[in-house]
Symmetry: C2
Subunit: 480 residues, 2 copies
């Protein structure tokens, strides 16, 4: 069992000295928002929330926690889907929400430098106003932060063309568990100067260091965007049709997939009806570029390919209302499915051509275990979010049988050449399944890297690595 | 002083058992080709060269060396430009040349899986025959290997549009210094499953593990390519003109820069004359895409922008002879400049808009120290190779004064927001300058990562990290 010191009165006094009285929450109702993220129904309250306003304050808080052996969990927007920001062992929640400034948008070098607490959509808007583009666009972009996106290597719908967060971060400043700040990377497009610590930090879920500043690459904003909605009479036909697009060299910026139950949930939640909501599956295809004629030609080609591959129709939206409607549906799906009941979400990802097989597997595994799975996600890069819905299943059975179901899904995913998280991270909710995705040797290397950064294990403990038998907080019950 | 065991008769017998008699070279003239790479005039002979044919053999060789405390230096094509493959402490040269098979080209998922010894141009040719594209294209592509490209995070001319090696490797198999093989990553476009060990290995210069297999992402091959040559009457005008292209939203796939002395050297070496070889500087701009009309429009736009920014002409090559001639010139420049005399090459990289300032700095620093610097390189991503030419300078002064000159260049580069290696790596030749590029804390983190992978320090020792005072092989003399 891991043991961490609880912050005492003296610690809290010191935190208040560092960050200011009103930026330290020690108990009371105000702690509640910091006791969860968007991951299922997990709840773990921190003992203290500290909201530093600059790197020096982060260093000072971290140094005190390091000396005292207090657990520290960095927190961005609290929108994570694997429990990366949960204070599993209590201790200090290091909320970076006040460090939310964009420090520079460099229109000559196409870079932006920002603090970790900046909301991703704010960054999008600011750079787009200057004709530039920061592509990562997780569905939570309106409230998630750049720091959280870096911690989880966030993706989103456009990742298939533009890549994920890791493809944009050029340099970071970060604070080690012992309180030392350091910089890694440079404001350059190429860098072969020592180990790539920037890439090591991206996706490390705040377990190695707390990122306090980041410089990201921007690209010229695409000028034209067209959206195409295609209904199918089966999940597998939709998944197979998608592959035809690639084989025929159409390169969309997004291909989103929704199955009927997901669409219906979105309709119920938004109290609206969407086109083709009665079809078994929908593909939402987006194409973009700088030349309207070229994009229109691609849309026409894409529509033809989808129809030939079994689409029941191919509805094109140029811009404006119709396009927004299609994306409203897609963006609502995640929240809507999660409103049905208690659920558990799997962030499966496979080589794209294996999507039809993945759809078959998820459905047949869920059937075999007597559970319901609703699927949607970023089909274009083989990343499907499978939501296991509790519905009216009794609590005991849900808790007892869910882990075996999830393990079966993960084994199927790995068997198809994929892995157990595409963009949500492992965090707390998936850590017990890591041995399905990676070998013992790979896990041991990751643990030795963790130890190199965080010898006392105080930074975001209880994440990524499976618990040693009997060692503490377990997640296999699915929600607690 | 680091101490490593020398391989003895028993070790050599074991290596022969593992890899076969004819795949072990222990002494004699056949060792010579393995005693250097393409980095200046460094020479360090290994005690033994071992050429395994599969991962199991790599594991067995590594295990023996680990148990005995023998230094092991992995080697690809031997084309490195920072001495990454030099056997600085002798020991075993682990040449991966026999592991040169392409294992799979997956035309559905757009990936290729290959062994580390495959020559990059072979990979290019094989995937391009299927309409696919592996963008990294270092000038040495005809002889460098995929494994070496991964070790050094190789870039090349097209990196400005398509990125470097790190943007394409999805998964690897690698062997740890203790002989254990492991896999990292997956054959998926997204992966948020634990630490990104793939990215940590890329650019780690064979100091953490020996990569024995890699899966890379492919993209659809661009169908159209146009090249434009623009002469300028000064280096700074050329560098400034380049920035105009970006500000006006032209996105070339390559912008190469050559100064007059570099072009003249190429003419002498190839015994040919090239267009505009009397101008002070040339920009070679390449644009590509899938639509000929769109690419032609971009070429016209680019030509107009360059002329307005001071280009003396803008010569367009559609394809074929003229285009090849332009690239022949560019590709010959590196070798030609290095034939002038003994030299030292710096792989400077800065934010693109700082290029004019970088050009000014390099020239004035070289002047101040009384040295000659000839520049060329990948201007489009701010990556300029500055070659310091010894010429007829006496040996004593060359060795004595060169380190201070290099340090001044590196300080200027870092002062401009850049870093000391864009694509060649730190290896042996730049390690003493690391403290100019990164802080002591950052260096300590890198060293702790090294220790996590390689507790005995047997894998590619004497690279990346500056020597502790009095600790062994030094590189500050510039060539030995």
């Amino acid at each position: 069992m891991l043991h961490y010191e609880k912050p005492d009165g003296e610690d809290i006094r010191i935190f208040r000295d560092i960050a200011g009285d009103k930026n330290v929450i020690a108990g009371g109702d105000d702690i509640e928002p910091y006791s969860h993220d968007e991951t299922e129904d997990y709840r773990f309250a921190p003992d203290v929330v500290v909201k530093p306003s600059d790197t020096a304050q982060v260093c000072a808080v971290m140094k005190r926690c390091f000396e005292r052996g207090i657990a520290v969990t960095p927190r961005g927007g609290g929108t994570g889907l694997s429990g990366g920001a949960l204070c599993v062992f209590g201790g200090v929640c290091l909320s970076l929400e006040r460090m939310n400034r964009i420090l520079e948008i460099d229109t000559k070098n196409f870079t932006a430098t920002a603090q970790p607490g900046v909301v991703v959509e704010t960054l999008h808007n600011e750079v787009e106003a200057l004709g530039l583009f920061y592509p990562p666009d997780p569905a939570s972009k309106g409230s998630c932060t750049l720091g959280g996106n870096i911690a989880e290597c966030a993706g989103g719908a456009r990742a298939m063309k533009y890549g994920t967060t890791k493809d944009y971060v050029l340099a970071v400043e970060a604070v080690l568990p012992d309180g030392r700040a350091f910089r890694a990377g440079a404001k350059t497009l190429k860098n072969a100067t020592g180990y790539n610590l920037v890439q090591l930090l991206i996706g490390s879920e705040g377990t190695l260091a707390a990122v306090t500043e980041a410089t990201v690459k921007l690209i010229p904003a695409p000028l034209v965007r067209r959206t195409l909605l295609a209904p199918f009479d089966s999940l597998e036909t939709a998944a197979a049709a998608l592959n035809e697009l690639f084989l025929k060299r159409v390169s969309p910026c997004a291909v989103e997939f929704m199955e009927k139950d997901a669409i219906k949930s979105a309709e119920r939640m938004l109290e609206r009806s969407f086109p083709y909501s009665d079809s078994e599956a929908l593909l939402l295809v987006e194409l973009d570029g700088s030349d309207a004629d070229a994009v229109n030609a691609d849309v026409e080609k894409a529509g033809g390919i989808l129809l030939e591959a079994g689409a029941l129709d191919a509805l094109v939206a140029e811009a404006g209302h119709r396009q927004n409607e299609m994306w409203d549906m897609r963006r609502a799906v995640g929240e809507a499915v999660k409103k049905i009941s208690v659920y558990k979400e799997e962030d499966t990802v496979v080589p794209r051509a294996a999507l039809p097989a993945l759809m078959r597997s998820i459905k047949s595994i869920a059937d075999r275990h007597g559970f319901t799975a609703i699927c949607y996600g970023h089909a274009g890069d083989g990343n499907i979010h499978a939501n296991i819905i509790k519905g009216d299943m009794d609590e005991l059975r849900w808790r007892r049988d869910l882990p075996a179901l999830i393990a079966d899904i993960h084994r199927a995913v790995v068997g198809l050449g994929g892995t157990i998280s595409g963009e949500h991270g492992i965090g707390f909710s998936q850590k017990e399944f890591m041995p399905i995705a990676v070998s013992q040797t790979t896990l041991e290397i990751m643990m030795s890297v963790k130890k190199a950064f965080d010898p006392k294990g105080i930074l975001n403990p209880g994440k990524i690595f499976p618990d040693a038998p009997g060692s503490g907080a377990s997640n296999t019950g699915g929600g607690q």
